[in-house]
Symmetry: C2
């Protein structure tokens, strides 16, 4: 295969993937020396992009256009075969369901590039891409039927409790027996990874891609590579994957458990990701917790400029406001304990507790993350391998997602409703959650000029029960004195703003 | 009445109350100027004690002997009638059930003066002594049938939601209509208070006496007296009550909500209590919480030398170890939300949640406090007025108390059992609690030389189910995968230490 630019696609939708391919030299360490660029131009907009070596003498270069219209490009390289190619294509309107990459909207929220608001409802299947084909097919089918629009997944294989088998393939040339050449990538592995990212894209799911993790423990050695090999890996994966609009860069999982790396290493790796990604995909880093002090965690400073949002492991989701105050960025508690029954404390809460944590985080303007860890005869546990969901929390999380997506665009955490954590728009819309609190009644302080209707929401039974009266001013709403109740109050005639 | 020293009791049991009474002048502000002392001597032990004016020309002086044998005393005063009296009495062994005052044993625990360990199981009835006789009788009867061995109660009346009626009497001369003379005490009120402290003593209940609180809001003015009047009040109550062995000094409830007082005021008041109490009764101060940040509380520095233990309001009882590390003193979370259904968030959790919080604190080497706030047709709510207990948590708290009191004397929080918060003695005795965690099994790491038996404890059902096998070394214990379970593991042949 050796397509010329004029054989490249002539039309690509906005935030789609444009790709050109050339043949070039196979010798002289092309993964490092096969450097080539393209400059894409559309009106005054200019974007520089790097290509990568895909093995067998094949060189690829990918680009994600962010505006419609005609784009022209020219390639540059010290390698003759890759230099000086020019071409153009037309960027068409995004197709239905394509809202572009997710970005940070403000200090509390996310949105898609087209302005549509995005509420992350994430789950975790760390090593799902490393499982046999049949398991991966079930994982995708499970995700299709789930409320999840984000998934945390690792590039490197995982060696951990309930997850000790070798992966189907590796990112590098070599084998567990012979060892790995961490300077020569395995393009087939990355092509497979890209296929899975496209499967997720088709489901509207963001791939929160974990670039490094400690769950190797020296078995394959990917958790303790030389700094230059870490850098090479980042340059390569950034060149390959940045053009996929649903990729997020999760620098590490439990970064502080990777004892071979220092804080300077993490800062350096973040800087590389920020510089090498032309599109500014979201960047975060996730901390570990200590056995006996889940509340005393070693948090990376999410205030650093290259961190776009807080990716937090913590067992107290009510701290959302503290973290936002501390870092001024949206808060995603990707790990706040998982629904399951394994002996580990991070993985044995009830579906009720998992649901409760999603609501607690949501009404504070943050987002909890899902994971499932039920013991399984064949050791197939969702959190590690994906496969099939068994828990009862996803249905409740879907219920919450519907309710959150009905919120007005400009909703924020409010502090005017006493005795209830509330999200909404002052005077117009209030969504509150009582959690472990179960008052027999609630005193709402509403605009005396306004008319409101209230709904009592049972977050576990997934019922919405309208209060059979129109409310105004200070009024008392009777409640079923049981835990897990939410209250929604909406103005009948919204004030035109 | 004008008894001479030789009319005073000739025998008093250890930690009992010895009292002498004289008649003296009624004029010239005897509450301030009626200063008199006695020096008590027993061998090389010498204790100086202050007397107080009890109205109608009566002056009293009380003493709590802390060792058996003959005590001699002599009085001294600028007032002729009170000066130079001498006498003696025999201090006999403490009677059954009299273990002396509670003291701090170590950085985590309490004990009675006779060495018996004391685990505080407190409840809160702030204004119970201010209620009508009939309610007070029911309060005492309820306490007699309860697991509680400590009660938080205020000296000053309370003006707050569900607690707005005037008290039966006041600590000062005057009335709500005419106002109060805060320089002239009402001896009848204090005599009544003393009677209630004696009723509690008979039930083995410590009176955690709240000296100041903000729930007056200027209605009677006791929350905003001049500094000299605060001091006079402390001197008076210390002279009257210090000889009662079951008195604890709680400097304030929600001290930080008393906006008229500064930190220097609290330090000064603490210094007075420490200096004027010859027996060193326990001293603490209790903080308030903010509506929307229960976790960001303004804690008094419990590390200050006059604070004997931490009296904390916080909604996260799992922070016990953090506070102990910070202050190096025993931790009592007197307020961690109450069982009830009132609209206030501090008072509407379930009995299950209240029980859960007691266990969470206990296995970390701390102690939670109980309160009950169920709506009541006549507004008689235990937390404010006492009366009758309606909740389901006291029975579970009694169950926990029995289990804690079976612990070996030298039990401490342990860190060797992974995945379970544990209290006990390494290698010999483990009491763990899983809380919201519900593992299907637990991996115990026991001494391979030892033989152990385990009990699975359901903290809500109050059942203890022995595991039907002898355990040793690393072993797996199957568990019912449900929340609220505890596990007790005891060595069959304790190692002789």
């Amino acid at each position: 295969m050796n397509n010329r630019p004029d054989e490249a696609p002539t039309e690509v939708e906005r935030w789609g993937k444009f790709e050109i391919v050339f043949q070039g030299p196979e010798e002289n360490d092309p993964y490092r020396n096969g450097v080539w660029f393209a400059v894409f131009t559309c009106g005054e907009r200019v974007v520089g992009v790097k290509g990568f070596y895909d093995g067998n003498g094949t060189y690829r270069l990918r680009f994600m256009p962010d505006r419609t219209g005609r784009w022209d490009y020219v390639t540059a390289s010290g390698i003759r075969e890759l230099h000086g190619h020019t071409g153009s294509f037309i960027c068409t309107e995004a197709s239905a369901g394509n809202h572009g990459p997710v970005q940070v909207k403000d200090e509390a929220h996310f949105r898609y590039a087209d302005g549509t608001s995005y509420h992350p409802f994430g789950t975790t299947c760390y090593a799902w891409i490393h499982q046999p084909e049949e398991v991966r097919r079930r994982t995708i089918a499970s995700l299709a039927g789930s409320p999840f629009n984000k998934i945390r997944m690792t590039v490197f294989p995982k060696n951990y409790s309930f997850n000790a088998s070798d992966p189907v393939d590796f990112p590098y040339e070599g084998s567990p027996e012979t060892g790995f050449d961490v300077q020569r990538f395995n393009p087939a592995f990355f092509a497979r990874l890209e296929g899975h990212i496209e499967e997720l894209l088709a489901l509207g799911i963001e791939a929160d891609l974990i670039l490094f993790h400690p769950y190797d423990k020296g078995r394959w050695g990917f958790d303790r590579m030389m700094a230059e090999d870490d850098d090479r890996y980042l340059h390569y994966i950034l060149a390959r994957l940045s053009a996929y609009r649903n990729v997020w860069w999760a620098m590490a999982n439990e970064y502080d458990f990777m004892t071979e790396k220092k804080m300077e290493d993490w800062d350096r790796l973040f800087a590389i990701v920020k510089v090498e990604d032309p599109y500014g995909h979201l960047r975060s880093i996730h901390n570990g917790t200590r056995m006996y002090e889940p509340q005393s965690v070693v948090m990376y400073d999410h205030g650093k400029e290259w961190v776009t949002h807080c990716s937090i492991q913590h067992w107290d989701v009510t701290l959302v406001r503290e973290w936002r105050r501390l870092y001024g960025k949206p808060v995603v508690i990707d790990e706040c304990l998982y629904e399951g029954n394994v002996p580990f404390r991070w993985g044995n809460i009830t579906a009720e507790e998992m649901t409760h944590r999603f609501w607690e985080a949501a009404v504070r303007g943050g987002y909890a993350g899902h994971g499932e860890t039920y013991l399984h005869p064949e050791g197939e546990i969702w959190w590690a391998k994906g496969g099939t969901l068994h828990g009862e929390s996803p249905a409740r999380i879907a219920f919450l997602r519907r309710i959150l997506e009905e919120l007005p665009e400009n909703s924020t955490p409010l502090f005017t409703m006493r005795q209830m954590e509330t999200l909404g728009v002052e005077g117009e819309y209030y969504l509150g959650y009582f959690g472990i609190h179960r008052p027999a009644y609630f005193v709402a302080t509403l605009d005396e000029m306004g008319a409101y209707r209230a709904d009592i929401i049972d977050t576990w039974e997934m019922t919405v029960t309208p209060v059979d009266e129109t409310l105004s001013g200070t009024c008392i709403i009777q409640l079923p004195a049981k835990p897990g109740m939410a209250l929604r109050i909406r103005r009948l005639q919204p004030v035109s703003s």
